[in-house]
């Protein structure tokens, strides 16, 4: 190994060992990167395959628009819109992040958890908006990426606060007879590093797919009963009233589930971080 490569490598290692601060709203000069990122995101996402409206692109645009308009002109005595935004922000910050991680540690991970919450909430809500139809999170790509982000985040948190002890604590939990580690270490590895991201992904995706299928079932049944059976003069077609009512009820349920899944994803990410940094005794 030459001197140059050695120096480059040691520089890289130094760079890694530096504490990387999570981006905050008050970070110096965040505008250029943000605007480039957002513009390219919309430009690539807006090109839908079938030439229709692209749900995720619309969602991202709407989220950005709401937060830009809502936080553009902040006042000490908030107006109605600002108060509503602040209420949601306060709920995510206090109810999800600070409750789980504590205030000091929570401040570090608050931006990314809040981003996750609002992205998932927006993408879930596209499932119930007519014209956009399928939720952005019903395709497995987005939840998978978010789960990987959460996975990297809790490993990073553990490594940052406990170093190598993080691996020891998570693979070899204390208080267990030594010979049992033969069975426990693989199980712990499986449950912590494989099952967690997989369940995060599947829970979100399958919730959205199952909800969508339920709505499809109800509304196609309505269509069939009204326009095929009832049009033939068969009074059994009046069952369509029932399936339509169920469809509407499940739409409301989907709205609730959209918010609930965003909450669950964010709070589980926070709990995984908390478990990674917790001191074992």
């Amino acid at each position: 190994m030459t001197d140059v490569t050695a120096r480059v490598m040691s520089d890289a290692v130094d760079g890694l060992s530096q504490p990387i601060d999570a981006p905050t709203l008050g970070a110096p000069n965040p505008e250029p990167t943000l605007s480039i990122h957002v513009a390219s995101l919309i430009a690539t996402a807006a090109a839908s395959d079938d030439g229709g409206v692209h749900g995720p692109a619309v969602t991202v645009a709407v989220i950005i628009l709401i937060f830009w308009l809502g936080t553009r002109n902040m006042k000490i005595v908030p107006g109605r819109g600002q108060a509503a935004l602040e209420a949601i922000f306060m709920f995510v910050r206090n109810g999800i992040v600070y409750d789980t991680l504590g205030e000091q540690r929570g401040r570090r991970y608050e931006p990314i958890l809040m981003t996750m919450f609002f992205l998932i909430l927006g993408m879930n809500l596209t499932g119930t908006i007519p014209g956009l139809q399928l939720a952005g999170t019903a395709a497995i790509g987005l939840p998978l990426i978010l789960a990987v982000v959460s996975w990297v985040m809790f490993i990073y948190a553990g490594m940052r606060e406990k170093g190598a002890k993080f691996w020891k604590d998570s693979l070899f939990p204390p208080g267990v007879p030594v010979w049992l580690y033969v069975f426990i270490a693989p199980l712990e590895f499986l449950s912590t590093f494989i099952v967690r991201p997989v369940t995060l992904t599947l829970r979100l995706t399958m919730n959205m797919i199952a909800g969508h299928m339920l709505l499809v079932l109800c509304f196609t049944a309505t269509q069939f009963f009204f326009f095929t059976v009832l049009a033939d003069g068969n009074l059994l077609g009046l069952l369509g009233v029932g399936s339509f009512a169920f469809g509407l009820a499940f739409t409301v349920l989907e709205l609730f589930i959209a918010a609930l899944q965003a909450y669950v994803f964010a709070i589980l990410s926070a709990i995984y971080i908390q478990l990674a940094v917790a001191e074992e005794h």
């Binding site: 109810g95 369940t199 599947l202 829970r203 995706t205 399958m206 919730n207 797919i209 199952a210 609930l260 899944q261 909450y263 669950v264 709070i267 589980l268 709990i271």
Partner: protein, 73 residues
Amino acid sequence: MNIVGQLAPLAFGLAVIGSGIGVGYVIGKTIESVARQPELQGRLQSLMFLGVALTEALCFIAIAVAFIPFPAP
């Protein structure tokens, strides 16, 4: 007599028995605790949703099985 069909819905039905019992247990215990200490309702409710989400994950894994492209025999 030949019966042709998919086994995936049957497997899903079996999987849902377990997580259905689990979700019912979580919610029932939460109702019990709220009846005992109504002032803790908010905290218990968020814990309940967490427990429900963790239990539900099992039946969502079962749905996902239907999407695995098994090779035809």
